[in-house]
């Protein structure tokens, strides 16, 4: 009798698991997960301490020489960037005037939040990272994650003080893209490798070349338009197949980044930001 008890318990637990899995999309389950986040967040922060220590050591034990060198290069970069910004200001006003003439909707101004990566998923096959900003600064599921070089992913889960982002290179991730100057549209699907994306369903006749820049497109309403995503690295036209084989490399070094930007767009904006087509 006593030995049969764990059997019943197992059955009970299986039923409980099945219930949880079936009800996973319900609002109250989301709240349960969010509540669990209050216990999980501190653990995630503590797990990052060794990494913080490593960074602290790297930042503090630097010779005067390297610091001076870094300073000089940074100064040069600032100079170059500020020149770009000067030009941008003029371009933005001109662009806005032209858009007004065309009666197209105004682009939303976008606020960004800087977040630090405090962890990557323990499973090396899942390209997810944990960020140190959460609901407390208004992060929501579906918001776009960028770094200095371009779009790198989106937020998939939000806790009170941390959030989880899925990278563009994860096999379950797909981002609608457009080739910068040619206007060809496509979908870039993650490959599971940090330096590769696949472009699916590109017709054999499409004019794609190695080195073309892929920028995000707002078709689908999930991502904002115009952030660089990747550069085409391989185009293979096979006459026997309906679609060309196209590979691209993300612009950001996804295994090196430490800070990211999260684009703060309200969930309601995500669907409405699609522009009317001509």
């Amino acid at each position: 009798m006593r030995n049969s008890l764990p059997g019943y318990r197992l059955l009970m637990m299986m039923i409980l698991s099945a219930t949880l899995l079936v009800l996973r999309e319900r609002a109250f389950m989301q709240e349960v997960r969010f509540a669990l986040g209050y216990i999980v967040d501190p653990v995630l922060y503590i797990a990052d301490w060794p990494q913080q220590l490593l960074i602290w050591r790297q930042e503090h034990w630097v010779t005067r020489d390297t610091l001076q060198k870094n300073n000089a290069t940074l100064r040069q970069e600032v100079l170059l960037l500020s020149r770009h910004v000067e030009k941008m200001a003029a371009l933005i006003t001109e662009n806005e005037r032209l858009r007004a003439l065309l009666h197209s909707s105004e682009r939303l101004s976008e606020k960004v939040v800087i977040a630090e990566i405090i962890g990557v998923d323990a499973d090396p096959y899942r390209h997810e990272m944990i960020l140190d900003q959460g609901k407390n600064v208004g992060i929501q599921e579906g918001q776009t994650v960028l770094d200095a070089d371009g779009l790198i992913g989106q937020v998939i889960h939000v806790n009170a003080r941390t959030s989880r982002a899925l990278l563009v290179t994860d096999p379950v991730h797909a981002v609608p893209i457009q080739i910068n100057d040619k206007g060809i549209r496509g979908i870039a699907v993650g490959s599971g490798l940090l330096d590769k994306l696949y472009l699916t369903d590109v017709p054999n006749t499409a004019d794609i070349q190695i080195g073309d820049l892929l920028v995000s497109s707002d078709i689908g309403g999930r991502f904002p338009f115009g952030y660089p995503v990747a550069k085409v690295t391989l185009v293979n036209h096979d006459a026997g197949k309906p679609f060309a084989r196209v590979e691209a490399q993300p612009l950001s070094k996804l295994d090196r980044i430490r800070h990211v930007l999260i684009l703060m767009r309200e969930q309601s904006d995500l669907a409405l930001d699609v522009e009317p087509s001509e």
Partner: protein, 159 residues
């Protein structure tokens, strides 16, 4: 040390420490080989204090792992509960096995738990590896089991 000495503090602290070991960032070359520390510690408690730690506790630990990994609740919990049941069926024999034989069985148990978790994760729409490399942690966990069990024995004796 009595065979079933058990304190809730010992249990929770060891699981928390194991969670940290599971989360700490490693160089990407080592990542595929990281043992599943939480599972090892859970198996230790299942094995040596079966009167207190059983299927339900295993399920709860699974739920904790789900929350830590940001997964749909129930994905790891199911596999952990199944594994807990298997350990319950085996614990009397397992405890008298020589340590390496113990390690082999535990490796298999962990692999079994990984199969179930991987299946459910795939169903829940997360990406899972298709290669056998996914099961490296089962092997490394088996190798680290003797060390782990030894440390846990000491830890229990301290309390």
């Amino acid at each position: 040390m009595s065979a079933s000495s058990y304190s809730i503090f010992g249990l929770l602290s060891s699981l928390l420490l194991a969670s940290l070991f599971d989360l700490v960032q490693l160089p990407s070359e080592l990542l595929p080989f990281r043992p599943h520390f939480v599972v090892l510690i859970l198996i230790y408690w299942l094995l040596f204090v079966p009167a207190y730690v059983g299927v339900c506790s295993a399920w709860l630990v699974g739920l904790w792992v789900d929350a830590l990994r940001g997964d749909v609740l129930g994905v790891h919990a199911t596999g952990f509960a199944l594994m807990g049941y298997c350990v319950f069926l085996l614990y009397q024999r397992l405890r008298v096995f020589p340590i390496w034989q113990q390690a082999a069985v535990i490796g298999l148990l962990i692999a079994m738990q990984m199969v179930s978790t991987r299946t459910l994760l795939g169903l829940a729409g997360r990406s899972v590896s298709e290669s056998f490399g996914y099961y490296w942690p089962a092997l490394t966990s088996a190798f680290i089991w003797p060390v782990c069990a030894n440390l846990m024995h000491r830890w229990r004796r301290v309390q």
